[in-house]
């Protein structure tokens, strides 16, 4: 790494003659708060961060290169492994891109199943975030409460598609499995339970004075910066931009349901915390409606040609993942394999602002800020 961060500044105080030196600290690749293999080289003066350089790629698996030699159906399991905390949205964005190119009709029931799966996954993802974020802040209890509730969602997914995290559930033109008998009721039950449990979460954490003091005013940025850095999702909404692709560029059947897009104006870690919690609430609201309106019967797989060959050309679609705007670009040459497949990963793009946010911050704030961006390294490195 040929970067000037490697030169540290030595300073000798003229009064006392004390020699002080800046220190380079390698946070990661193996570090509890990087949530994966992510390295952050920070130059610190005392505990104040002077400069931070993120280094990534430890989890780079070349998904985009691999995809060029795979058929579209085969790529779907690979997308599970990108953002492994919310694999459903990844599944969807790929299928959605192919379907947009081919102009496929998705059966109603499949649409509902997709939406329910995605929203459940959003709740699960935010729960993981909530737990791990508090672990970063130093509270270990919430992690386990969050994982207990997430477990229920994963069990639901396990029943739905036979896997807990690497779902491989959606297919171009529909979904692989119909909901098993009784599944919808279980999901309904969970939504009701989660609504109550969410209040407990607030009781446990949100009012905690230590927690509030740790987060308020930390990692602040404004709308202009957010747009400049291509931030999306909660990162963008925390600065007051009311923008949610589910609402503003509706895909799937999101336009049929009533929900709000929570926004905040502070743009700090606390705002992002509140937004994510509010998003769980909204997701539960969508789920409630969707589960209620779930069609009693119907196909779950649309009419799809045996070999999926999108027409020659290119397409870029974007949807709202729990982390922000996830996009999928496909350049097709009319073959069954993509000529070029590119994922716009929200974690990767959102992470860009980190060096800016860390400048001049305390070392302890580093984990608070990094956590509030909500990255998944599988997605950053792709």
């Amino acid at each position: 790494m040929n970067h000037n961060i490697l030169t540290t500044h030595v300073d000798t105080s003229s009064e006392t003659g004390l020699r002080t030196e800046e220190m380079l600290l390698n946070v990661g690749p193996q570090h509890p708060s990087t949530h994966g293999v992510f390295r952050l080289v920070v130059k610190i003066d005392g505990e104040t961060i002077k400069e931070a350089i993120p280094v990534m790629g430890y989890l780079h698996r070349g998904t985009e290169k691999l995809a060029e030699n795979l058929t579209y159906t085969q790529i779907i399991p690979y997308t599970d492994r990108m953002d492994y905390v919310s694999a459903m949205t990844n599944n969807y964005v790929l299928c959605h891109a192919v379907e947009t190119m081919m102009g496929l009709e998705i059966p109603e029931r499949a649409q509902f199943l997709r939406l329910i799966a995605m929203e459940l996954n959003r709740v699960a993802s935010h729960l993981v975030w909530w737990g791990t974020y508090l672990l970063d802040i130093g509270a270990m209890g919430p992690f386990l409460y969050a994982f207990r509730d997430r477990e229920t969602i994963l069990d639901l997914f396990n029943e739905l598609c036979g896997a807990r995290m690497t779902f491989n559930y959606m297919r171009v033109g529909g979904v692989k499995w119909d909901a098993p008998p009784g599944w919808i009721d279980k999901a309904k039950e969970f939504v009701q339970y989660m609504k109550k449990e969410l209040n407990n979460y607030h009781q446990l954490v949100t009012g905690n004075e230590i927690f509030i003091n740790r987060l308020r005013g930390i990692g602040k940025f404004d709308t202009k910066t957010a747009l400049d850095y291509s931030l999306s999702g909660v990162m963008l909404r925390s600065t007051g931009v009311k923008w949610d692709l589910r609402k503003d560029e509706p895909y799937c059947i999101y336009d049929r349901f009533e929900f709000d897009v929570p926004t905040a104006t502070e743009g700090d870690c606390m705002a992002r915390y509140h937004l994510r919690m509010a998003e769980i609430e909204q997701s539960l609201r969508i789920l409630e409606q969707a589960l209620e309106q779930f069609p009693s019967e119907g196909e779950v797989m649309g009419k799809v040609p045996r070999v999926i060959r999108p027409p020659a050309g290119e397409a870029y679609v974007r949807i709202e993942s729990p982390r922000g705007e996830i996009g999928c670009y496909i350049a097709s040459q009319g073959k069954d394999k993509p000529w070029r497949l590119k994922f716009r990963r929200p974690s990767f793009t959102n992470l860009q602002i980190l060096p800016k946010l860390l400048q001049g911050e305390n070392l302890a704030n580093m984990v608070a800020i990094l956590g509030s961006i909500d990255i998944v390294l599988g997605e950053v490195d792709c």
Binding site: I75, G141, G162, A163, T166, W177, L204, E209
Partner: protein, 137 residues
């Protein structure tokens, strides 16, 4: 201080609540019917169509066929069938394409081994792995 007290109250309540721990190695973990575990392979059903090997995204399936021993019958029967579980991601695509359900998922998921070599499973092993076979494929 109120927030702190509320939090303490919450954790105290949890002290006596029902625990969620699974006694996993002592009590087997039941998996739902659709669970994607280690594949079961029944050679008598296989028609050596190669679809599973072709659809596999990680190319972990290797198979060879041989001509049918009964000269009257056409087609091939399976000779060797190997799945490399170092690569297999249990994505379910092979069972999805299989026209005869020769390869199906089971609910078994314990694969840990002390050597990587043990993760190459051959036809016999896959055939013997016939418990908890998934019904819906």
């Amino acid at each position: 201080m109120l927030g702190l007290a509320k939090g303490l109250g919450y954790t105290f309540k949890k002290l006596t609540e029902k625990k969620v721990t699974h006694f996993y190695p002592d009590v087997p973990f039941p998996m739902p019917p659709r669970f994607r575990g280690i594949q079961h392979f029944s050679p008598e059903k296989c028609i050596v169509c190669n679809q599973c090997a072709r659809i596999c995204p990680t190319e972990c399936i290797q198979l060879t066929g041989k001509p049918h021993p009964d000269p009257e019958k056409k087609g091939k029967i399976i000779d060797t069938y190997d799945i490399n579980f170092e690569l297999c991601i249990l994505c379910d695509l092979c069972t999805e394409v299989c026209p005869t359900e020769a390869i199906v998922m089971t609910n078994n998921f314990e694969l840990a081994a002390y050597s990587r070599d043990e993760l190459y499973k051959n036809l016999k092993w896959l055939d013997d792995n016939n418990t908890n076979v998934r019904e819906e494929n």
